[in-house]
């Protein structure tokens, strides 16, 4: 979104500002990318290490998975930027409906 107008030819666009923004954006992306690889490694280690029981490992990797989804959505798919309110609303509504459905299935069908 921020990058779109770099070559617009519009004199009002402050190229310096855009460039700074892009660099900042790139830094966030690299940091979150490194974090994601690190978290994936942690997940593998948690599963591979015999000292942890399933009662620790399963919730732990689920939390890591949640963090990964947030990274993916907010840093790689730019949901942190402006103009994504409607997609965010519908995304969370969908998550909510799916969650209610799963919760009901887990508790009253397959209990």
């Amino acid at each position: 979104m921020t990058n779109e107008q770099l070559n617009s030819g519009n004199p009002k666009v402050d190229i310096e500002y855009r460039r700074k923004k892009s660099a900042e954006e790139m830094r966030y992306q690299i940091i979150s990318f490194a974090m994601m690889i690190f978290l994936t490694l942690v997940a593998f280690v948690a599963v591979g290490y015999d000292g942890f029981s399933g009662w620790f490992t399963i919730p732990f990797i689920l939390v890591l998975a949640g963090v990964q989804v947030v990274f993916q959505l907010y840093y790689f798919m730019h949901m942190s930027h402006k103009g994504h309110e409607a997609p965010a609303l519908f995304l969370y509504s969908g998550v909510f409906v799916a969650f209610i459905t799963l919760l009901a299935f887990m508790t009253i069908i397959w209990w």
Binding site: F90, S93, G94, V97, T101, A104, F105, T107, I108, I109
Partner: protein, 621 residues
Amino acid sequence: MSTYAQKKGFGATIWDYLTTVDHKKIAILYLIAGGFFFIVGGLEAMFIRIQLAIPANDFLSAGLYNEILTMHGTTMIFLAAMPLIFAFMNAVMPLQIGARDVAFPFLNSLGFWLFFFGGVFLNLSWFLGGAPDAGWTSYASLSLASEGHGIDFYVLGLQISGAGTLIGGINFLVTIINMRAPGMTYMRMPLFTWSTFVTSALILFAFPPLTVALFMMLFDRLFGGNFFDPLMGGNTIIWEHLFWIFGHPEVYILVLPAFGIFSEIFAIFSRKRLFGYSSMVFATVLIGFLGFMVWAHHMFTTGLGPIANAIFSVATMAIAVPTGIKIFNWLFTMWGGSITFTTPMLYAIAFIPTFTMGGVTGIMLASAAQDYQYHDSYFVVAHFHYVIVGGVVFALLAGLHLYWPKMFGTMLSEKLGKITFWLFVIGFHLTFFIQHFLGLMGMPRRIFTFNKGQGFDAANMVSTVGAFFMAVATVVLLINVIVTIVKNERIGNDPWGDGRTLEWAIPSPPPFYNFKQLPLVRGLDAYWIEKMDGKTEMTPAEPIGDIHMPNNSFIPFVISLGLFIAAFGAMYHGNHAWGIPVLIIGMLITFGSMFVRSVKDDHGYHIHKEELMDDDKGGKA
């Protein structure tokens, strides 16, 4: 003179409608197809009532009765109520937000043709060995045991038409989010547009569970799956849950647009701003939200256990709060208004007590302990007919009278309209009010006959007489439509005289590009604001310029036709050797036409400024 307005021959008109991507023409297609299925479902209802008029009747056999009952419910919900609502959404919503079309005109057409072919497929079951006979809910334990191909018609037909509905819903969502005219903020949108928005969101979230359930049923019945077969490790309750996770929001998908239509009517014919606009919006959203957390109230007696029953019971009762907010807002809108009793307004006024009664029996049914008494009795039948006929069908009839001038440029006769209204309302209460008591006396629903001396004779006769009143009302309505079309007396922009929203600021029917210049919206009830400032038309928000329009396309028809053919292949592949080849051919047609659509660039065309300037009928914004 614009070249687009030439007089066309009959064949050219048919071709125009087969290929159209114009939301107003698609609305007319939805209206015709939905109206046709409404008549079909109505005839089925008449057969049901004739069969039940006297005890031990043999007008229908038990098996045929089951088929007619199933098809009545399925047709009325999926093929009549939904498309008729889509007709009004298509016709009015883009005009209300000041848009030139929906966001994806091609998908709009695809949605219609998918619905149409799904509906035709479902109804062909009558001629091809028997219709579905497991009720519109088609519970797996019953439907898996159903012989013949009836249930397969149900599954495949609804799968195809459901895809069309989902496409339509997404299209409306994108349209409302992205295509509002300058100044049209969310909190300035007319209430019908708001209800279209919430309804479309419900469609988006409610139809996928149905799709999943139908696919599971499809595999269980035709391809050796065992999702719902307990003997093979499946679970038959999963169908019930998935069906009602879809089915309960479906009720709100139907009734929220009805609320929207009535909100417009109350404001127009009371000559007042809608009372409590923001609380109306809030209530609409809240009903949509709560609608996803109550589905198990359809399943209290399946043995969910007391905790689950209690949770769903309380959640269900909570919906009465936003609905109550709406009822009082409508009453306060009329309070002190200068009311004119036109046909739409009569329906709106009749709707309030009728719907409230349906709501009250809803609360009674929501109480899990009481539900064990009412379950599967005529009390339930009375309840949901009070909600769906008293809410949705009243709104559709009211909307037909209200928006007919905008869609066709002529006025339906008020005199015949009022005759229809009185016959229908009297017939409706005669038919269904007494069914509450039939249920309380112990008459179970979905039975094909009853015996003398059970005490059901008189009440059932009354109910059947009422049904004939509604049938006569529908005939009068059809006469009204034909007379109006033949007379063809053209009317102006604002035939009701008190239009408040943008659609009344442009000609009836609107030019195919809707707005020559996009209007500037200065508040809620945009056109009314301009009128109060002594103006006769909207202030334009842009200079006259070229308008970009989409080209017509025959591809949506072909995509849907391919699925229609493939469905026959899927259904008969167990009986005939040609099944699999036909399935493949159908899929090839569908995917082939999608491929053509993808690779062939279609940039549409422009209406040029010069043409627009000459075209004086293309009402200024």
